[in-house]
């Protein structure tokens, strides 16, 4: 126990032990003590409340006079009786738990102004005598009503509190030393000094319901959470071997690609171009972007096929494919796709998308002559794909069947329809 707190307890016990002094004087004495050092007033008030409530709550006071003094000192800390301040709440709690005579004093102090004034002029000893005389007041309706009102107030306050707060009880259990027969030894010394010596310490210790909170288990060791290391090769900074390297073929090829995108090439130009693209380093620098591909396909399908076949192992091929799929349908584009399907394995999604594109193009053409021509082409193209098992019929069955029915007047469409039926 800290020295200052010890001093506070001693002072309070000293006041409590003045059983023959009127309560008014006790109040003055306490107030004097509390206001002795201005800066410590708040601390003193708080600890006075702790100490007083602990003394009475833990059953440390044997005589009624002392207990009554504590009740009064607690009451003296109540500034406004209607406000539920901490001392008020302590008193209300006592009203619930203490014996009837103490309850009577509590009710008088809290509810009866006349009685309160009368009590303040009396000492604890006199009040005990008074209580002996007025024990029947306990059974009076007036007292019971006042008590109920106070308890109601306390009940209302409790209703607003969390159950966890309300469940808190004192964690201090009185355990007086017992004699051989098992009954508590009577307090040999009833004086202030021996009381303080036996008391040792006064404090509040709460005891709450226990919640067990087991910690979650460790996350299992992941599949590859243990980090094993594999040796790697040493990567080093390297000399730029393209120093002073000239690739004149690149310029020639770029020129030819530009020409090929604008119009048909002469056979010898075409031959030069095809020989130049044999060198992958030159090919990749030819400047043919996917955006330029449709023009090349329209003007020089053979060149387009050769270039695409060279690009097929490159990472860029998908971009060229999507450019091909999205260009307008034409004989040349179909020729390119057809050659590609026979030369390499194309992604099925690409072929399906191309076929759908062709069918839509046929449906949207207004000019009957051109439409018939294109439908024939598409039908022949489809038959070739189906016969060569490049396309899975099931994937396109409904769409192609509808196409055949729509253009059933055209001989090639009818034969495609028959082919579909046979395969079905």
């Amino acid at each position: 126990m800290q020295q200052s707190y010890r001093k506070l307890v001693a002072t309070l016990v000293h006041i409590i032990y003045k059983v023959e002094k009127p309560w008014r004087e006790l109040k003055t004495e306490l107030e004097q003590y509390l206001s002795e050092e201005q800066e410590e007033t708040e601390w003193k008030q708080l600890n006075t409340l702790t100490c007083l409530s602990s003394l009475i709550r833990d059953g440390l006071l044997d005589t009624l006079e002392h207990r009554l003094n504590v009740i009064f000192l607690l009451f003296s800390q109540v500034k406004v009786e209607t406000k539920l301040t901490a001392p008020m709440l302590v008193l209300l709690e006592l009203l619930e738990t203490r014996p009837p005579e103490e309850q009577l004093i509590l009710v008088w102090l809290l509810k009866n102004k006349e009685k309160r004034a009368d009590l303040c002029s009396k000492s604890a000893k006199e009040i005990v005598e008074l209580l002996k005389r007025e024990t029947k007041a306990i059974n009076e309706e007036h007292f019971q009503n006042d008590k109920s009102q106070l308890l109601e107030l306390f009940k209302n306050w409790k209703a607003q509190q969390k159950p966890t707060e309300l469940a808190t009880i004192s964690g201090i259990v009185p355990d007086p030393v017992t004699n051989l027969t098992g009954s508590p030894q009577p307090s040999s010394n009833d004086n202030e000094e021996s009381f303080l010596e036996n008391l040792e310490d006064v404090f509040i210790h709460d005891f709450d319901p226990v919640f067990v909170r087991p910690a979650p288990p460790l996350l299992p060791l992941g599949n590859d959470e243990l980090l094993l290391i594999d040796p790697e090769t040493i990567h080093e900074v390297v000399w730029d071997k393209t120093l002073c390297e000239k690739l004149p073929e690149v310029e020639v090829l770029k020129d030819l690609i530009n020409k090929a995108s604008k119009g048909p090439l002469q056979p010898e130009q075409q031959q030069t171009l095809i020989s130049l693209i044999e060198n992958p380093r030159v090919l990749h620098r030819c400047g043919l972007t996917p955006a330029k591909l449709p023009d090349l396909v329209e003007n020089n399908p053979v060149v387009a096929i050769e270039i695409l076949l060279k690009f097929v192992s490159s990472n860029k091929i998908s971009e060229y494919f999507s450019a091909l799929v999205n260009m307008d349908m034409s004989l040349h584009s179909m020729e390119v796709v057809n050659r590609l399907t026979t030369a390499v394995e194309l992604p099925p999604e690409f072929i399906q998308m191309y076929i759908s594109n062709c069918i839509h193009s046929c449906e949207n053409i207004r000019d009957k002559y051109t439409q018939n021509r294109l439908v024939r082409l598409v039908c022949v193209f489809l038959q070739s794909l189906i016969k060569n098992k490049i396309v899975n019929v099931q994937d396109l069955f409904i769409e192609v069947q509808a196409f055949c029915i729509e253009f059933s007047r055209i001989r090639e469409a009818a034969s495609l329809f028959r082919l579909l039926k046979n395969l079905e």
């Binding site: 005891f207 709450d208 910690a215 460790l218 599949n223 590859d224 080093e236 990472n315």
Partner: protein, 830 residues
């Protein structure tokens, strides 16, 4: 005509310069380059700085990086180059034919400095135009990209580039293949590199044809192992070992792969035997291999539950690493060379060390280790889970230390004399936690391992999980099980790319999750914390960094390079179909990580923010697949949160029916598991490994005992078999638990709620009944708890509490006295 002859002369000189460079005649090479400056100023500049770089024995890359930056059209300081993630305009707009070597060299240095994402971006740009480059560069780009992909955990992408190599260089990839033979890969001063890496297995480093073939074979074996294609791996490693043996090359790299293979197959002891069979002299000859072996053996010991031994090996690995990377001969510790930094595995070793320390209950040291590698693995949810576990474990340990003062004693102290004697009951009430908070303010408690920090870590893990893009259709993947989990090497966001066919066929790719949504969610989670400490600010930075990381990788979907990573089935290596792990494993792991993160978050929030704890508990309960023990904990946590929020009615509702079903379900599961695993990696014993008074009942209180906590000691090298609770197994990995008795609440084992959990349930049920003023039911519940664990301090305290509430002071005193065995015993005798 004169122009043509000038060109020819320039080309002759260029060739001469290269020969001089290769022969380590750097001054001569520099002289020649000067002459070539008028005809090719930019490349001359680059080669000149390359010569200077080698002249500094690869110690000073600044000049080289400045030159590259200048070529790149940037005038930025060298320090910022590796960090810059965006490419200069010429890079993205037109193919990088002209400065491919500059790009490659920057990628090499970025890789050596561990800026793998930067390396990856640079290399993928080159790879998308790979056909335009000479074979030597193509091979080097391939080799580096493969390594970077594996470091980033993208085995599927590595498989794609490997397929490309096999198509491009059949002569190198297959020794049987004899057509178009010569791949000339020389490009650096051989002597300098050889002297720098004299102690490195030659086939991993030399560039002649025989070594290249062995190197490719080794890389193929690595790929198969990462893809978990074990049959192919076995075949490959067998041929590699025999080829190495026949040509007198070191077997260590191949043996290291074999060790990993055995570990992955669950043959940890066999792996350990293999490791011990590696001749000591070979290891002494190759210090870097020794470091790798020590780390890998450390991992084997972790798997075997020998954490102390693992820590010893990992510490040795760390020491060995320092001697490999740093030049000790000088007074000041200096890095040997920039390429040596690529051998710096300290982050990996630190993570493994962190795992071991965590299992040992050395939470502060574990957290230190995780922090050390956090920069590397910061986008891995697992890292954050582990850190959160450190915080939770540390909190539980602190509680335990506090409680250890009154082991087996319900009485805190006795005050007063004679008729004024009083018993002060030890009260584990939440209010008393305030003292701990005060301790933390006074610096007693490690502020960084607070529950608030733990909650932040758990939130970050959840955020990263939410950000993780959904995986492409599992059926279309026949790749690996590795990409996100093999190494928690972050960058999990990058793991979305699917495999491709050998012809690089194309389909559309599933897009990652909506970025904005995840970011918002992350921010929401961040704001939930309500904590303004700098730790948490930095945590938010990490989230932002994670955003950036995933943005970089999401960008991949638009770059030409990764557009090839999008096709049908993965047949990366010719006709050899690679069979891969199931995506179900990923889902299982993701669920486990999520439930773990949520349970940790819930635990941490119970003390700080019960509202969030309740929400988290409810989220756990809503999860469709959640482990019963976690579901059980979610109920317990939810109940406690509801009670502290003043809602005991709902708490009672939550506690009653479901939880008994969960306990029952879990006990059935335990019966079906059947066996007790003798070598869990949590050797320190799992849930309350206690003596029992009866076969079914633990005697030592899980909530008060700390007598089983394990510390580093030689004896504990031997795995304990005292763990009576069956450990849950996942993917053949036995699951860890916190060291026993570190939590006042004990630990729920994986796969086992057990007596401890059931007793905890009854204690909490009793408390809820008390809050509802149902003292009779509370007493009945506590009787059940005591019948399961008669010496559980929590149950005894609760029993005392009920007696006091019932006014039975003598009964309460009886309980207190019967369990009072320590110093105050005498004074309590009547």
């Amino acid at each position: 005509m004169s122009q043509e002859s000038d060109d020819t002369e320039a080309q002759r000189l260029a060739k001469e310069a290269f020969e001089s460079f290769r022969n380590n005649e750097l001054d001569k090479a520099i002289d020649i380059i000067r002459k070539l400056e008028p005809s090719d100023p930019l490349r001359s500049k680059l080669n000149n700085s390359i010569c200077l770089y080698y002249k500094s024995r690869c110690k000073d890359p600044i000049k080289l990086l400045s030159t590259i930056a200048a070529l790149n059209g940037k005038e930025e300081s060298v320090e910022t180059i590796p960090q810059c993630s965006e490419l200069a305009p010429w890079f993205s707009e037109s193919p990088p034919f002209e400065f491919a070597y500059a790009v490659f060299n920057e990628a090499v240095i970025a890789y050596q400095l561990h800026f793998w994402k930067r390396t990856c971006v640079l290399l993928e740009t080159l790879y998308s135009h790979i056909g335009a480059f000479d074979d030597s560069l193509v091979f080097r780009v391939w080799l580096l990209l493969f390594d970077v992909y594996l470091r980033l955990g993208c085995s599927d992408k590595a498989a794609i580039v490997f397929g490309f190599l096999e198509r491009t260089f059949p002569s190198v990839s297959d020794p049987e293949e004899n057509k178009d033979g010569n791949l000339e890969v020389w490009g650096s001063p051989d002597n300098i590199m050889k002297s720098l890496f004299s102690a490195y297995p030659s086939f991993l480093f030399h560039r002649d044809k025989e070594d290249l073939q062995l190197l490719i074979s080794y890389y193929r074996a690595r790929l198969y192992l990462n893809l978990r294609s074990y049959k192919l791996f076995k075949k490959e490693i067998k041929s590699l070992l025999s080829n190495c043996e026949a040509s007198g090359k070191s077997l260590v790299p191949s043996m290291l792969l074999k060790i990993r293979y055995e570990l992955q197959r669950g043959n940890t002891r066999k792996a350990l035997r293999l490791a011990s069979n590696i001749p000591e002299e070979e290891l002494e000859a190759y210090p870097s291999m020794k470091c790798i072996l020590l780390n890998n053996v450390g991992c084997l010991h972790i798997k075997l539950g020998r954490q102390n031994l693992a820590i010893s090996y990992l510490s040795l690995a760390q020491q060995q690493l320092s001697s490999v990377i740093y030049d000790d001969s000088k007074d000041e510790k200096q890095v040997r060379s920039v390429p040596h930094l690529s051998l710096d595995y300290s982050d990996i070793i630190a993570y493994n060390m962190g795992l071991s320390l965590l299992v040992l209950g050395e939470y502060e040291r574990a957290a230190q280790a995780f922090w050390k590698c956090a920069e590397t693995f910061m986008t891995s949810a697992r890292l954050w889970i582990r850190l959160a576990e450190c915080c939770v474990g540390f909190d539980a340990q602190m509680e335990c230390e506090k409680e250890s003062k009154q082991v087996n004693d319900l009485v805190e102290k006795v005050v007063g004399k004679g008729s004024k004697r009083r018993i002060v009951i030890h009260s584990p009430c939440t209010k008393n936690r305030e003292s701990l908070e005060e301790d933390s303010k006074n610096g007693v408690r490690h502020p960084k391992l607070s529950l608030q920090y733990g909650a932040e870590c758990a939130r970050t893990a959840l955020y990263l999980l939410d950000k993780k893009p959904s995986r492409p259709n599992a059926t279309s993947l026949s790749t690996n099980d590795e990409d996100t989990h093999s190494e928690p090497v972050a960058f999990s966001a990058s793991a979305t790319a699917a495999a491709t066919s050998e012809t690089s066929n194309q389909t559309t790719m599933e897009q990652p999750k909506d970025e904005e949504h995840s970011v918002e969610q992350g921010k929401r989670q961040g704001s939930n914390s309500g904590n303004k400490s700098s730790d948490h600010e930095s945590m938010f930075d990490i989230r932002q960094e994670a955003d950036k990381n995933s943005e970089v990788f999401n960008e991949e979907t638009t770059t030409p390079a990764t557009s090839s990573t999008t096709a049908t089935s993965g047949k990366p290596t010719g006709s050899k179909v690679v069979t891969g792990g199931a995506s179900n494993n990923h889902e299982d792991e993701d669920v486990l990580i999520r439930e773990s993160a949520l349970s940790l978050l819930c635990y941490c929030c119970l003390s700080t923010c019960p509202e969030e704890a309740l929400e988290t508990a409810k989220e756990l309960m809503r999860m469709s697949h959640v482990s019963p023990e976690i579901l059980f904990l979610a109920h317990l946590y939810g109940v406690e949160a509801l009670c502290s929020l003043g809602r005991p009615d709902e708490a009672l509702e939550m506690l009653s029916p479901q939880i008994l079903e969960i306990i029952e379900k879990c006990s059935k599961k335990n019966v079906s598991l059947g066996d007790v695993h003798t070598h869990p990696w949590s050797h320190s014993g799992a849930e309350m490994s206690t003596k029992t008074t009866s076969p079914a009942v633990s005697t030592s209180s899980p909530w008060s005992s700390n007598s089983y906590s394990t510390r580093l000691s030689p004896e504990s090298n031997v795995p304990s078999v005292t763990d009576s609770s069956p450990n849950h197994h996942l993917h053949g990995v036995s699951l860890p638990n916190y060291p026993s008795s570190v939590s006042k609440g004990g630990i729920i084992s994986r796969g086992a709620i057990g007596i401890t959990g059931t007793a905890a349930f009854y204690v909490n049920l009793s408390s809820v009944c008390v809050l509802k003023n149902k003292l009779g039911e509370a007493a009945a519940a506590i009787t059940r708890a005591l019948s399961l664990m008669p010496r559980s301090s929590a149950a005894l305290l609760m029993s005392t509490y009920i007696k006091l509430r019932e006014g039975d002071v003598e009964g309460a005193k009886d309980i207190l006295k019967c369990h009072r065995v320590t110093s105050g015993f005498q004074s309590l005798q009547t």
